[in-house]
Amino acid sequence: MRLSSVGYVTRDGFRNIWRNKIMSIASISTVAISLFLLGCVWLFVANVNHMVVNVESELEINAYVKQDLPREASEALAKEIGTLEGVSSVEFIPKEEGILLLENRFGTEADLAGTVGENNPLPDMIQMKALDPDMVPALAEKVSALEGIETVRYGQGMVEKLLKTAAWVERAGLIGLICISVAAVFLISTSIRLTVFSRRDEITIMRLVGATNWYIRWPFLIEGLLVGFFGAFLAVAILFLGYNKLAESLMTTMSFIPVMKDNTMLLVLGRNILLYGAGLGIVGSFLSVFRYLRV
């Protein structure tokens, strides 16, 4: 196709949207809503994952050693734990140190160590960190099965709950996305079918003067592409503005929630949404062009 023809068909694509304003607006809005939902789900899941990784204590497992175990045996146990798969670091905290940590947690005024003296009731503790929050439950189970370990404590299911929620949201989001994408494709293809109908005289003339099939089809495909793209653009704009506003207000009001403030992540998300929107548009227009456009 000649360069000037590229200009003609692109101009006609824009003209199609303009002529068919109401349907175009409906299709653009549907694409925008569906992709906005997609973006929300994606941001939520990304934030949950980010939270899980960032809440460091969630990676931590504390194993309490049996009171009657000799010190050397406890230390050996700590070494053994260090060799387990999925452990990133391990630290042996003897009970003398443990009481000081406890003291710190209560504040400086208490003199716990002095009060209990030789009768320190705390057990020795082995504190380890997992490489990955997913591994925490399995690792805890493995450690608790070791000879000489009394009990094991970790995030008490918080990690699992968070991950489960994220997985559930992801799945629900995916199903929602599929349904709404189908609706968007259907609406785009209906919109283009209407344009094909309203331009039937032009199509007849083009065919008779000898326009190639692709020359006739291109404006409709471009129309679909643009509808998808505009919808996606709208979704991205709302997501960017909305997310930044939300992140700011969360940071000031609920600073304990570690919200992601990562521009590259947003840019990647924006790019993917734009591509997805354009893809929806092309699929929608292909369906109409090859069904209703007799060339």
């Binding site: 000037s4 003609y8 005289d201 065919r207 003067v209 000898g210």
Partner: protein, 230 residues
């Protein structure tokens, strides 16, 4: 050159219609031909076979010796660029200006923007509507609208013009003007085929007349007239 050899065309819709029966014809380059006959005689079908809108049910239609039925789908648009088509109802794009109506056809065959700018005013001047380039079709008289229709057919420099009842919607005086335009086009070497009911016109022009009746060619004569049987 267009040749018809034993051409039959049957439309097999709900009712079976034999639109053309055993048609044999030869149309030389540069000829001026009137296709005459009552409605339903097969005039439109014959033009549709020439522009490869339809394919013969049996027999052969050849263009410059090549079978149109066997023409590849992707070659059809390029074949049609050699033919200009003029409609009875003009088929103008009402939301576009005179200039845009013609430019539209030129762009459709992927003429460069520079060529479009050069060709369009030229054919508009040739049809005598150069001063109307910014007007919309509804602002033109019937005769001017048909001139615009012819300008659109001519812009791609076709070797053949086919017109289906081009004066059907026009008064006799305007029809005469339109015929003079076709005559001028023909004198430049372009083949002209006109399907018409217009008895006076045909009798006045004394060109080759092909008369159809119930799908058959009942008369084919040079310098003919519109006889009563047709």
């Amino acid at each position: 050159m267009i040749q018809f050899f034993n051409v039959n065309k049957v439309y097999d819709a709900e009712v079976r219609v034999e639109a053309l029966k055993d048609v044999n014809l030869q149309i030389e380059n540069g000829e001026f031909i009137f296709l005459v006959g009552p409605s339903g005689a097969g005039k439109s079908t014959l033009t549709k076979l020439i522009i490869r809108e339809e394919i013969a049910s049996s027999g052969q239609v050849l263009a410059d010796g090549k079978s149109l039925a066997r023409m590849k789908q992707r070659d059809i648009p390029f074949y049609r660029r050699r033919i200009g088509f003029v409609f009875q109802d003009f088929r103008l794009l009402m939301t576009r200006t005179v200039y845009e109506n013609v430019a539209f056809a030129a762009e459709a065959v992927e003429m460069s923007a520079a060529e479009v700018r050069q060709r369009v005013p030229m054919v508009l001047d040739m049809m005598g509507i150069g001063d109307k380039r910014n007007a919309y079709p509804h602002q033109l008289s019937g005769g001017q609208q048909q001139r615009l229709g012819i300008a659109r057919a001519m812009v791609n420099n076709p070797t053949m013009i086919i017109a289906d009842e081009p004066t059907g919607n026009l008064d006799p005086e305007t029809s005469g003007e339109i015929m003079r335009i076709f005559n001028a086009i023909n004198r430049r070497g372009t083949t002209v085929i006109i399907a018409t009911h217009d008895k006076d016109m045909v009798n006045q022009m004394r060109k080759r007349v092909i008369a159809l009746k119930e799908g058959r060619v009942i008369r084919d004569e040079k310098n003919g007239g519109y006889h009563h049987e047709a």
